[in-house]
């Protein structure tokens, strides 16, 4: 393999090199240093509520199974038979008592132990050493499950850092503090590098241009949050550290529930009452006004207001964005259905927003195909402010989020 690219040269504080989006060598290093060495989001506990429940996922390009074992513990296993590397599980989700490899019939328990080998006289190895690979680190925060292939990745607490309070804000949209990801997933393929997803998803500068057609035909919360004159915009870009970045739209909202497309909360009196009961009048109404976060949690989770989004890399020139509505526990079916319909309107291959984002990302990928160019991420450097706890805060149209992403990326890739 070629020597490692010089990341301190390719990533400047105000610009990044095109090869970071196109090079196979860079892509292989990202898999190793970001997806296999660090913490990665794999799923939500509400997707696997009962013992034996599982979902198939990919961490980087490694197929894994996220499951709840007999004791109710969360586990992540490599989805690969320890014998001849067949996929142990081909269903996207389900409930299992154990996993049997369809190739030669080896049977594994939900914690990955090898239980049975057909025609055992020819098997001379130790069963206890032939189990499925279980990821050494699996932890969850507020139901969001993260895992790492690397036992030395540190604590999830340290990885999340400031992003914990973002997750807290998301689950506090529910009066019982719980969300449920039970509506299934839509997967949207971009012929573009995966880093375009976190970068574009917290870019507040493009909204007026990429989403002009949306803004022309539909009134939405983005009218206040991202479509005003520069001096009137009160939203912010935030670099929370560790590569976690936010488009903080809340400061722009004057009325309650504009983030769900309403002019006030009168349509959902039960929801208002439940939030007041749970959190007290003041906090409940602040939640109703400010709404959910719009935050990327490095490297592959996007809490996209009332949606949960996952990023999946598929080589330097292709990626997939998964999405599902962030349904709330403790609210009416009516409210959850509204969240579901808003999710479909915004996201996915035919979404009023993401279809246009996808197209622009693909055009970027074509434009930087030669790998011989620089991308400017300097906007707003001169007016960025330092916030409490070492965070950086910029104008909503500024590239504070891009700089936050790349600063963390450079630290990881330079190791």
């Amino acid at each position: 393999m070629d020597s490692s690219p010089d990341y301190s040269r390719l990533i400047q504080s105000d610009s990044v090199h095109a090869s970071l989006y196109t090079s196979q060598a860079v892509y292989r290093e990202e898999l190793e240093k970001i997806f296999y060495r660090g913490w990665v989001y794999v799923g939500h506990e509400s997707e696997i509520p009962h013992p034996g429940d599982f979902v198939r996922r990919n961490i980087g390009e490694e197929p894994v199974i996220l499951l709840r074992d007999r004791k109710g513990e969360l586990r992540v296993l490599k989805n690969r038979c320890s014998h001849r590397a067949n996929l142990i599980c081909s269903d996207g989700k389900g409930n299992a008592k154990n996993f049997m490899c369809p190739y030669h019939g080896w049977v594994f328990s939900l914690d990955g132990q090898l239980l049975d080998v057909p025609y055992p006289q020819g098997f001379s190895r130790d069963k206890s050493e032939s189990g499925l690979v279980a990821l050494p680190l699996v932890d969850s925060y507020q139901g969001f499950v993260f895992a790492s292939f690397n036992a030395g990745a540190g604590t999830l607490d340290a990885h999340l850092g400031n992003a914990k309070q973002v997750i807290d804000r998301a689950v506090a949209m529910s009066p019982v503090g719980r969300i449920k990801l039970t509506a299934g997933w839509v997967k949207h393929k971009f012929y573009a590098n995966w880093k375009m997803l976190p970068e574009n998803d917290t870019d507040g500068y493009h909204v007026n241009f990429v989403h002009a057609s949306f803004a022309k035909v539909l009134r939405s919360h983005y009218d206040d949050a991202a479509l005003q004159a520069e001096e009137d915009l009160e939203s912010e870009t935030i670099d929370w550290g560790n590569g976690h970045t936010e488009l903080n739209l809340g400061p722009s909202y004057k009325n309650e529930m504009v983030w769900l497309g309403y002019t006030d909360a009168s349509r959902f009196p039960g929801y208002v009452a439940a939030l007041e009961q749970a959190y007290g009048h003041g906090r409940a109404h602040e939640t109703l006004r400010a709404g959910p976060p719009h935050t990327v949690i490095f490297p592959n989770l996007f809490i996209a207001e009332m949606n949960i989004v996952m990023f999946e890399p598929r080589g330097p020139n292709e990626c997939v964005q998964w999405h599902t509505p962030m349904l709330l526990e403790g609210v009416s079916d009516d409210l959850n259905e509204r969240i579901l319909r808003q999710c479909e309107a915004a996201l996915g291959p035919a979404g009023f927003l993401l279809a246009d984002d996808g197209t622009i990302s693909e055009r970027q990928q074509i434009a930087l195909k030669s790998g011989n160019a620089w991308l400017d991420i300097s906007r707003g450097e001169q007016r960025e402010k330092e916030g409490p706890g070492d965070i950086r805060v910029g104008h909503v149209t500024d590239e504070t989020t891009n700089r936050g992403f790349w600063k963390h990326y450079r630290r990881l890739l330079s190791r």
Binding site: G184, S213, A350, F352
Partner: protein, 171 residues
């Protein structure tokens, strides 16, 4: 199930072929002229073929949202269809059944199934050919006035549960 005459089948086929041609040619407003006020336009996400009030779909447009979708395309600023994708679809295996109890009294109603393959040139970005195969279910309404309208279209993509390329057009 009531018997459907050759004439009725011909009339419905003509409607579906017209609908397909207008969609292929990105003639959005003319296409909208073929659908009724209670139109439901649904593209489930593959396996998520269940209740659209519980499962997320690729598209689940009621009439109002469909109107917005077409208005967005008509702005001329919908990047995902700028320029519009050159497309051609082939419709086949058409089966027509008459519905005994129409949703709207005093009309005739038909449940129609077909297979389709759509070829799309992604002219806005990659300039590659995308293939969209699937089955489609229509509900068609014939009013005594001779007015024929589609009021339900469900597109079940063969690869709906897999990652799908951007799909800004009318499928």
């Amino acid at each position: 199930m009531q018997l459907v005459s050759i004439e009725e089948v011909r009339r419905i086929e003509a409607l579906l072929y017209q609908e397909a041609r207008l969609a292929d040619e990105s003639r959005y407003t003319e296409w909208e002229g073929l659908v009724d006020d209670d139109m439901y336009y649904w593209v489930p996400a593959g396996h998520a073929d269940g209740d659209p009030s519980l499962a997320v779909s690729v598209i689940a447009d009621n009439r109002r949202r469909l109107k917005s979708r077409i208005a967005q395309l008509n702005t001329g600023a919908r990047h995902a269809q700028l320029p519009a994708s050159p497309m051609r679809r082939v419709l086949s295996n058409i089966e027509v059944n008459k519905v005994e109890t129409p949703k709207e009294q005093g009309t005739r109603e038909y449940a129609v199934r077909a297979n389709f393959v759509l070829y799309e040139l992604r002219a806005q970005s990659t300039n590659t050919l995308e293939v969209w195969p699937g089955s489609v279910e229509y509900r068609v309404r014939a009013r005594p006035s001779g007015d024929w309208k589609i009021f339900y279209k469900k597109v079940q993509l063969v690869h709906g549960s897999e990652p799908l390329a951007t799909m800004g057009f009318l499928i």
